[in-house]
Symmetry: C2
């Protein structure tokens, strides 16, 4: 399975101008549930195929129920087909039950674009890839986090305390992300990158699965080849819900994607 | 018109279980274009009426084309009707043309919820309402910003420089927002509050209209009566696009809503 790479496990096959088939890979799951950014990347491929613009610029997904690994159907409806950008509604279903619905704006990322002003972007991490600690796919209690076997998620040492039961309390995880086989990131796989890290709440308090209700991603630039730097930051934990922000930079230190998500959380007090 | 208040100008009238009629008020516009958060609040009312849960928890809107002031049609489709939360797709059209489509998660905000951890939330502003400067609805060049006559947007003195041609360069506007007649905010009018401030890019460089492509809002708590504090912050301006984050606190200093948006920008160099 890993030999397929991300392009393979997120591929969609056109059945009609608006309908696509895809397979949710069992390797890209956490506790048997597929990663939400991975599913959004599939929807991104369908939006691009249906809409005629090559890149996803913005995507907002609401998660209705998690599909099981296996076949899913995707339907893409073009809402507006503009000259430089367009919008599409894309829906993933399994056995006739809706699983994810998303709205996507597609367009073209101009490789010549440069930041005019970036004063509101946090500083990227400083540790090189080799000095970061890979997140294990085998947990101390014997359970497995399947997706961490597929991708290489590495945490900076100040972010890695939670695995030893020592969260920093900052609610912030910094590190690197590499796809299987060193596959370069593009505007579609960045939709996965913004949801690839463990929940930043692990750096506050341990919890079980943190299911995403809503995920919004903005893709800002075409990344340079190689792993990307990620900052996953929790903001407010309240009423069994948490919002997290994510920033992704390429190896040259350029901000390439951003995201925000609202998720459910059951804290282990 | 102002006598209607926000509840009046954002009201929707049910025509069938899934169809609603509404009127875009000419007062709630900027350069003749309706405010995007105002339109999202209308979609929020339709989602609540169609879905059975009393509050909007999360909303993501993609803006296709701006409707003119006047009648619009709204269609709400329930995607999942859960016991404690549900999701709906809501679409606004005018004269048969789609204008805005949004996905909303509805549920119930528990007034007893308290923050468990809020370490990722920026500090609210410190200036009292009375020490802030109201944004004028008449511009120096004689043009009008209609919506600023309806609502009371007040900027803290360090955020008010742009009106004198002296942006601070921080890309950050802090201040207060009050609805007409002192109407209290609720989970629906907070969908407007997160888009009520001038673009934070005005604190970097002047530009014309900054049209919203995508707006995502999370409502976190029921606000106390009275005006709300707002922080509107720009992050990255690049390739004629900017993303902005927004945080809204009630008068008691409690975070009640958050948002992110991607907008177009044509800078006046």
């Amino acid at each position: 399975v890993a030999a397929q790479g991300f392009a393979g496990v997120s591929a969609v096959t056109r059945r009609s101008p608006t309908r696509f088939a895809a397979d949710v890979d069992p390797g890209w799951t956490i506790g048997g549930k597929p990663n939400g950014g991975y599913l959004l990347a599939m929807l991104g491929r369908a939006a691009i195929a249906a809409g005629g613009h090559p890149d996803v610029l913005a995507a907002s997904a609401h998660y209705l129920r998690a599909p099981e690994p296996g076949p899913v159907e995707i339907e893409a409806t073009v809402l507006r087909a503009g000259r430089s950008a367009g919008q599409a509604r894309v829906r993933m279903a399994q056995d006739g039950q809706d699983c994810v619905e998303a709205l996507l704006t597609t367009g073209r990322l101009d490789p010549a674009d440069a930041p005019y002003w970036s004063g509101g972007v946090p500083a990227p991490g400083e540790y090189p890839f080799a000095d970061c600690e890979r997140v294990a796919w085998e947990l101390p209690d014997g359970r497995h986090v399947a997706i961490m076997r597929e991708v290489d998620v590495r945490l900076e040492p100040p972010s890695a305390g939670f695995a030893r039961g020592e969260p920093s309390g900052r609610g912030e995880l910094r590190g690197w992300l590499a796809l299987p086989g060193g596959e370069p990131f593009d505007a579609v796989s960045l939709l996965y990158a913004v949801d690839a890290f463990p929940p930043a709440t692990f750096d506050v308090a341990m919890s079980g699965w943190v299911p995403t209700f809503e995920l919004t991603a903005y893709v800002r630039a075409v990344p340079a080849p190689g792993p990307v730097r990620v900052l996953q930051r929790a903001r407010l934990i309240q009423g069994h819900r948490v919002d997290e922000a994510c920033f992704v930079w390429d190896g040259d230190g350029r901000l390439v994607a951003q995201a925000t998500q609202l998720a459910g959380i059951r804290l282990v007090f």
